[in-house]
Amino acid sequence: MGAVMTVINIAYFIAAILFIVGLKQMSSPTNARRGILWAGVGMVLATVVTFAHPELEGAVNYLLIILGIAIGGGLAWWSGRKVAMTDMPQMIALYNGMGGGAAAGIGAIYLLQADPETASDVVLAIAVVGSLIGSVAFSGSMVAFAKLQGLMDKTVNFPAQQWVNLGVFAVTVLLGLSLALSGGDVSGPVLLLFFVLALAFGIMMTLPIGGADMPVVISLYNALTGLAVGFKGFVLDNPALMIAGVVVGAAGTLLTQLMAKAMNRKLSNVLFKQFGGSSGGAAEEVTGSLKAIEAPDAGIMMAFANKVIIVPGYGMAVAQAQHKIWELTQMLTARGVAVKFAIHPVAGRMPGHMNVLLAEAGVPYDIIYDLDEINNEFKTADVAVVIGANDVVNPIARTDPDSPIYGMPILNADQAHNVIVIKRGRGAGFSGIENHLFYADNTRMLYGDGQKAASELIAAVKELG
C-alpha cells in the first residue's frame, strides 16, 4: 500500500467517524445542527482525498468527474435552497433516488469491466445485489417524488398486480443470478435486461402505493440506498462506502419501522396492500350536526381559557397559516393562557415534518408535544384548536372496527371541553372518511382558509386588549 493510499485511508477513517458521530448528534434537537456540519466535513474530506486515488486515471475522466460534481452539485444546491419546507418529503425522495441510481451505476461499470481471470463469485454477487437494490431505490424514489409533487395523481391498480410484480421481480433475480454465476464473463444483453427490469420493478412496486403511505416508502428506499451503497463499498474495497452505507441502511430500517409504527401501518401492508382496499364494512352512522362558529366568538373562547392545545395538520401548512398561528400563540401566552402544540406522528407528510414547519414559523420545540406526551392533557384543556388536521383526531379510530383507520392512535382532541375546528370546506379527510369529531356536541366549526381564520382570531383577541 503506497503512501498516498495510506493518507486516503486515514481520511476515509476520519470521515466514517464523523458520519457516525454526526448521525448520533442528529438524534437530539439541541445539537442536531452540529451533527450535520460534522457529517458535511467528513463528506468534503472524503471527496477531496479521492482525487488523489491511484485508481483514477486519464485526463478525460478527471474532467468528467469535476464536471459531473459541478453539474449535479450545482443543480442540487440550487433546488435544495429554494424548495419550500412543505415540499421537503419529495425532495428527500429525489435526492435519495439519485444516490440509489449512482450505486446502480457503479455496479453497471463493475459488471461491464469484470474480468473472467480475476473476478470472484462473491464480489460479483454483491455487485449484482447492490445494483438491484440501487435500481429499485432509484426508480421507486422517482415515482414517490412524482406522486408527492403532484405530477402523478392516481394510484395505479390492476388485477393480479402483486403477481405481475412478483413475476417481474423473479425474472430480475434470475437474470441477476446468471450474472453472478457468469464468472465474470458478463453478457451485454443480459446485463441491460437486468437493469431495465430492476428499474421497472421499482416503478411497479411504488405505483399502487397511496400518498398517505409514501413517507414510509421513502424511508424504506432511503434504507435501501444506504444498503446498496454499503454493498458497493465491498465491491470497490472502499471502507468509507461500506461503513457509511451500512450504518445508513440499518438506521434507515429502524427509522422506517418507527414511522410505520407511528402511522399504525404494517410495512408489509404498505407494500402489498392498498389502503382501505379490502375493508368493505359499512361505516358507523354519523350522528349530530355541524355547528359553525364565527372568529370573534372563537377568539374570546381562547382568550379566556386557561389552557389551549393546538392540533396542527398539513392543511395548516398548505394555507401557510403557521406564522399567524404562532403570532396568535404569543398573544394568548401574553394573556396568561397556557398554549401547547400537539403533533400527531403523521401530521404533515411524514413523521417530524410538522415540527419542521412549525420550527420554520419560529415556534420553539419545547412547547411542541407528541402524541404520548400530551394525549392525557386534552381532558384538562379548555379549548382544543384543530387546524388543517382531520383523520388524526377522528374518534372513529377508537370505536369503529370497520373503519380503515381503526386502531390508529389518535390525538384525543374530542376530550377537551371545547373543540374549534378550522377548516376550509366540508369535505372528508385524506382517507375520505367522515370525521365524527366534527359532529360532536362540544365542537364548533370555523370555516375558512387557515391563514385568514388565524388572522381573524388574532384580530378578535387583540380587540379584547
Binding site: 434537537p29 475522466n61 449535479g72 424548495v83 450505486a103 458497493k232 418507527l258
Partner: protein, 96 residues
Amino acid sequence: MIEGFVALYIFMLAAFTGYEVISKVPVILHTPLMSGSNFIHGIVLVGTMVALGHAATPLEQLIGFVAVILAAGNAVGGYVVTERMLEMFKTSRGGK
C-alpha cells in the same frame, strides 16, 4: 482486498452501530434525521469517482458520468435541505 470474514464483521458492526445510534430519536427529528442519513449515503460520490476514474470505454464513461452527477446531487442536496431544516430548531429560552 478486505477478506471475507473481516468484511462480514464490518458489515455486522456497522449495522448495529446504525441501529443503536438513532434508537432514541424523538419523533420531532424523524424528518431531519431521514434527510441527514440520506445525505450520509451521498458518500456514494466517492465510489462513483473511482468507478468513473478507471472507466475505459465511452459507455463506461457515460454511465460513470451520470453516476457522478446523481451522487453529487445526493450529497449536496441532502446536505442543503438537512441544514435548512435543522437551522430552524430552537427553544423558547432562545439560542439553538
